[in-house]
């Protein structure tokens, strides 16, 4: 395999973008990712994005977002209707072909104008699930209940995840929810989407992210401290939520086995939009919370721009490794209802 590294990352997210459209949100983010390495869009061997047209409610909305990149003269470009983390996977595969050395990955999502819970119902199987319009929160709540019923976790564990997220997010300028919260006080709040309390849900976020990948010596030219992708894999579980054990994540476990997570991994950025899901993923990834810092950015419970939050996990891990907070990291991204599809990667510092 060809060595591929992250050489630059930029992001933006906030609770509600009132005046800027997706392209206007994206434009400075792409500029900020390109600036430190001194390259232009036209220098990229490949460009790929992850987003969902259903948020904009317009077919091929992702094509108009290319205006933020500047696709003239023509560029080599692709798109996935998934989180940007899966677009990054496509870029990694494209770089393995060996004929190009750089790739630009971006994603964007503006959820605030609509009802994101309902929009996400459109990704469901269209005959037996879709016509009932179960929203994303209700489905995740079914998974949380299964976890509670199994005895593997309690409401206190959910509150512990939320408190950690809020605490860690204090240092994240792009977080929507942050602060010192008392776990016991969280449990005194009323149930909302029973068994969830409101704080078990992610915030509604508008945002965008951009990552630049480079292969081998090109990465070393572009950055003094590139962060290498040592392994990356994604797997999927059965489509129907009722046909699988919702308390475990076999696809995450399998992807983790394929990439090989180091026993001494310093930090983990896990894409868990709901508190209960973080517990399932920590188990599937085989992480020891006493040794590995979990979601130092606050994770998706602190900022959850749909289709961006997974790619942001790569970027947050990249930032922390570059800052010297750790030598390596495990990164996770998810898609689909109840953690249906999962991507796992290992990042590492090195020349």
């Amino acid at each position: 395999m060809r060595d591929v590294a992250i050489v630059s990352f930029a992001q933006h997210s906030q609770r509600r973008e009132d005046s800027r459209n997706e392209i206007e949100i994206l434009l400075p983010v792409i500029r900020d990712a390109l600036a430190p390495i001194g390259l232009k869009t036209q220098d990229m061997g490949f460009t790929v994005s992850g987003s969902t047209d259903y948020l904009a409610g317009q077919a091929f909305a992702f094509v108009s977002a290319l205006d933020a990149v500047g696709p003239w003269p023509p560029i080599s470009e692709s798109h996935v209707e998934m989180d940007g983390a899966f677009a990054l996977y496509e870029a990694w595969v494209r770089l393995q072909h060996g004929d190009i050395d750089t790739a630009l990955v971006y994603s964007f999502g503006k959820s605030s104008p609509g009802d994101v819970g309902r929009v996400l119902a459109l990704q469901l199987e269209p005959y037996l699930l879709g016509p009932l319009w179960p929203d994303a929160v209700s489905l995740a709540a079914l998974q949380a209940r299964a976890l509670l019923d199994s005895g593997k976790a309690t409401e206190k564990d959910f509150a512990r995840v939320v408190a950690r997220s809020r605490r860690n997010a204090r240092s994240n300028p792009f977080a929507q929810l942050q602060g010192d919260v008392d776990e016991a006080a969280l449990l005194e709040e009323p149930l909302y989407a029973d068994p969830f309390r409101l704080h078990d849900l992610p915030p509604v976020t508008d945002g965008a992210a951009c990552i630049i990948l480079a292969a081998g010596d090109r990465a070393r030219e572009l950055s003094d401290n590139p962060v290498w992708i040592k392994g990356i894999d994604h797997r999927i579980d059965l489509q129907a939520p009722g046909s699988r054990d919702l308390t475990v994540s076999p696809s995450t476990k399998l992807a983790a086995e394929k990439v090989g997570i180091p026993a001494d991994v310093d930090l983990a950025e896990i894409h868990a939009p709901f508190s209960s899901q973080e517990l399932i993923l920590i188990e599937a990834l085989g992480l020891d919370e006493s040794k590995t810092a979990i979601n130092p950015s606050g994770g998706a419970l602190a900022a959850n721009a749909v289709m961006v939050a997974g790619l942001q996990r790569f970027g947050e891990a990249f930032n922390r490794i570059q800052a010297g907070d750790g030598k390596n990291a495990v990164v996770h991204a998810t898609g689909g209802p109840c953690l249906q599809q999962n991507l796992v990667a290992v990042l590492e510092a090195g020349k």
Binding site: R118, L128, P131, L132, P134, Q239, S243
Partner: protein, 146 residues
């Protein structure tokens, strides 16, 4: 000169049809006839609703081999939806439930018409059939306590 405004009819349409396929189609036709069908998978488990492909062998499921399961079963998980949306089975806050029907080893998702305080995992529920059934998932109106 005539002041007549020219006009032509315009019908918004979706000018093609989709098939639900042999397995989902058989399941939905079963609902129309108040029968719930499942598939006995290669690992011996009965999956309801039936998948289109066997998860163990990846082989296409033969609709002729579908088996009938009960219209009653147990709640394997449930959640409360405080914000009903267009298209949901109810226009008031209600519960979603995963229900393992008698004779099945997997669960089907639908709404459960019961008070929040009366719901628990393991409770017995039964299908409430829609009065008019057309071969659609909403032929099951919801589940209700058995």
């Amino acid at each position: 000169m005539s002041e007549e405004v020219l006009s032509a009819p315009h019908i918004m349409e979706f000018p093609y049809t989709r098939s639900t396929g042999p397995v989902v189609g058989a399941f939905l036709t079963g609902l129309r006839d108040q029968k719930v069908l499942g598939y006995q998978a290669s690992d011996g488990r009965v999956m309801c609703p039936p998948p289109e492909f066997d998860a163990g062998t990846n082989a296409p499921v033969d609709a002729a081999g579908l088996v009938e399961v009960g219209a009653e079963g147990v709640v394997t998980s449930w959640s409360w939806n405080p914000v009903p949306r267009d298209g949901n089975p109810f226009d008031r806050p209600f519960a979603w439930a995963l229900v393992k029907l008698d004779g099945a080893d997997s669960s089907i998702l639908h709404a459960l018409d019961a008070d929040r305080g009366a719901i628990s995992t393991g409770m017995r529920v039964k299908v409430r059939w829609a009065e008019e059934r057309v071969g659609f998932i909403n032929d099951i109106a919801c589940f209700e306590p058995a």
